[in-house]
């Protein structure tokens, strides 16, 4: 037994060295990580916020002259005008290359009985192919369509609990996902009270309505708004003076979905019935 070898390093000395080594490793890891983030941030700034999954051949990114701090977008859905044609869902699917079986927007059909006890709701294929007439087992008092999209909430839980900050809210009020950072944990999908998010089966990242960010930053409407033949879906900017959509929201009788959750949606509804959740 070589005693000299076995007692070469006193424990206190060892502890000190171990602490130094661990500290060193920690610094290197943090620094390299931080550098990566910084580089990513630099790239980020060049194109301002990047929308999520882009459509085929569609120019993803934001024009250089676009300043998100000069806009606050607002979305208004006039339920009384919707005919359930599904043009909006089809337009969204084409514009954003939405995978089959997943929806960035959809339409629900409500049929309510005269005694108010039966509420028949459906949304076949998200309303993409329109709605077929339906025979109900009860006398119908009213029936209506309700288009749904991401509510782009101001106090949104999806951004609050994204562990890596891939979900974020742009200064113009649009909730976006940076798919280069998303780790695909699905926490935001669980957190959205409206079912607006899904994990994209190809990119394996969170995907959702971007209000067609690539279009609205170029002064265009979201695809669903342009496709709507009845003016059900309306798109406005509350930073724009005299914006007709914002005027309807502030001066009209509007409603938001699940107001009790206090997520402060920026998608408003005109003529919404209480059956809708």
């Amino acid at each position: 037994m070589k005693e000299s070898q076995t007692t070469s390093l006193p424990r206190r000395e060892f502890m000190r060295k171990a602490a130094e080594t661990l500290g060193g490793i920690a610094v290197v890891v943090c620094a390299s990580g931080g550098l990566g983030t910084l580089l990513a941030d630099q790239q980020h700034k060049k194109g301002a916020p990047k929308p999520g999954v882009g459509g085929k051949g569609q120019q993803v990114g934001v024009p250089h002259e676009y300043d998100p701090t000069h806009h606050r977008y607002v979305y208004l859905i006039d339920v009384t005008k919707c005919i359930g044609c599904g043009a909006c869902v089809r337009a969204c699917g084409k514009e954003n290359d939405v995978p089959e079986g997943f929806f960035r927007t959809w339409i629900e059909r409500y049929i309510v009985s005269t005694d108010g006890e039966h509420v028949d709701i459906d949304s076949p294929n998200g309303g993409k192919d329109g709605f077929q007439p339906k025979v109900t087992g009860f006398e119908v008092a009213k029936a209506f369509f309700v288009p749904k999209i991401c509510n782009h909430c101001t106090q949104t839980p999806c951004v609050q609990l994204c562990p890596v900050g891939a979900s974020y809210r742009s200064p113009d009020g649009v909730v976006l996902v940076d798919e280069t950072r998303c780790i695909g944990c699905g926490y935001c999908v669980q957190a959205c009270p409206f079912g607006s998010r899904f994990i994209h089966p190809k990119t394996h990242t969170a995907s959702k309505c971007t209000l067609c960010y690539h279009r609205i930053t170029r002064g265009l409407n979201p695809a669903c708004v342009d496709a709507c033949p009845t003016g059900t879906r309306q798109f406005g900017d509350r930073e724009r003076k005299g914006d007709p959509v914002w005027k309807q929201v502030v001066s009209g009788k509007v409603h938001v979905l699940k107001p009790e959750l206090l997520t402060e949606p920026n998608a408003y509804y005109l003529g919404l019935s209480y059956e809708v959740r």
């Binding site: 890596v164 780790i183 699905g186 999908v189 957190a191 959205c192």
Partner: protein, 393 residues
């Protein structure tokens, strides 16, 4: 074609985003926390009757800890970005805390194990030859001071680490419960009780797992099972099982009594969709039976022979392990069976068999800690060597 839906679901709500892997994750993390609490009963609170499992529980906690993040990695859409949780954390996210809590706890358990085994490592480094000698020399980390004074200091640090470890283990698992409890969109998850329920069921599963491992190992090694140890574990297990089940029932009770919007969906969920896994597996088979069995062990001690008591304890602990697994399943999967429309349910979720998030992977992940435990046992014995201790004085 998507899954079948009863009632009306939001069209994106028919997918079960959190799969079997996310059932495994809180289960394994719970075993980590629970086993650590058991080891602390010996190391901090000096329950001498638990000495036979003092080391076993600590090392078991570590073995499960090694594999706790694995289900998450299998689940992530982009596992290569997993470290971003620590590099670019979003501090308002509950999930972002995982890396830090896990890292802290990992170092703490590793440090405690090293100190607990230091004397053994030094002895073996001096006695062994060849490869084993080199291995123990590496494990000794160059420190060979085994004077009584040094060992006394070791013991004190172990107590401190184990004492810090208790709240750390509680935070580790309370945090897992918080991740579910803080999702206000989900009618089943969103309750402040959730972290508490997770915590207590974690401790229950940890005690049960240590009991099962101890009884099995002793049996296969043809060594005597300490009756005192089993009796004591049963007392703790009984207590924690009762508290766990009470909390789980309280949650259902308060939901049903408040009759809020949540109850619309949760009542149908339990009655129609989780009838087997919640009422049958979690409550009747998984809770009622072991609580009665453990009650017999604790209250009728003098009427039971040692082998009979050990067998009842083993059966009760095994059932409780199933109970906790069922609870994880019912929370994680149950919370995704219904839509946030509160009006629709998808068909039952069946995990795939061979896929990345499938049953085979889950079984392998569950087996892995035991393999590690067996390997560690070959290098650093999990049982205290009474003879050597006696010889050492």
């Amino acid at each position: 074609m998507g899954p079948e839906v009863i009632g009306f679901s939001f069209p994106n709500d028919v997918h079960v985003t959190w799969s079997l892997m996310i059932v495994m994750y809180p289960y394994i993390t719970g075993l980590v926390a629970g086993a650590f609490v058991v080891s602390s009963l010996y190391h901090v609170f000096n329950r001498q009757e638990l000495k036979p499992i003092g080391r076993l529980s600590l090392v078991a906690s570590f073995a499960f800890l090694l594999f706790a993040p694995l289900p998450l990695l299998f689940h992530l859409g982009h596992p290569e970005r997993a470290l971003n949780i620590m590099v670019t954390p979003n501090f308002s996210s509950a999930m972002a805390a995982f890396g830090f809590i896990y890292g802290f706890y990992f170092l703490l358990v590793l440090g405690e194990i090293w100190l607990v085994y230091r004397k053994d490592i030094i002895d073996r480094a001096r006695a062994a030859r060849g490869f084993r000698r080199r291995l123990y020399k590496i494990l000794a980390l160059g420190v060979y001071d085994d004077s009584p004074e040094a060992l006394r200091i070791d013991k004190r640090i172990v107590i401190i680490l184990a004492a810090i470890g208790i709240p750390a283990a509680c935070i580790l698992h309370g945090y897992v419960g918080f991740m579910f409890g803080s999702v206000k969109a989900n009618a089943l998850w969103s309750t402040p009780l959730m972290p508490v329920i997770f915590l207590f069921s974690a401790i229950t599963s940890g005690i049960a797992m240590v009991l099962v491992i101890y009884a099995t190992v002793q049996r296969f090694a043809a060594k005597p099972i300490s009756g005192e140890c089993i009796q004591s574990l049963c007392r703790y297990l009984w207590l924690f099982a009762i508290v766990t089940v009470t909390l789980e029932l309280l949650e259902v009770l308060s939901l049903s009594y408040e009759r809020n919007e949540e109850w619309l969906v949760v009542s149908i969920l339990y009655r129609d969709h989780l009838a087997f896994s919640f009422i049958g597996l979690q409550m009747v088979f998984g809770s009622l039976i072991p609580i009665i069995l453990l009650g017999i062990v604790v209250l009728m001690r003098k009427y039971l022979t040692d082998p009979l008591r050990n067998m009842i304890a083993f059966v009760a602990a095994s059932i409780l392990l199933i109970q906790v697994m069922a609870m994880r399943w019912n929370v994680v999967i149950g919370g995704q069976i219904f839509s946030k429309s509160f009006r629709g349910f998808r068909e039952a979720y069946r995990p795939e068999l061979f896929g990345r998030e499938g049953v085979v992977v889950a079984v392998l992940i569950m087996v892995a800690p035991f393999v590690v435990l067996a390997l560690i046992n070959r290098v650093l014995p999990l049982a205290y060597d009474e003879k050597r201790e006696a010889a050492r004085g």
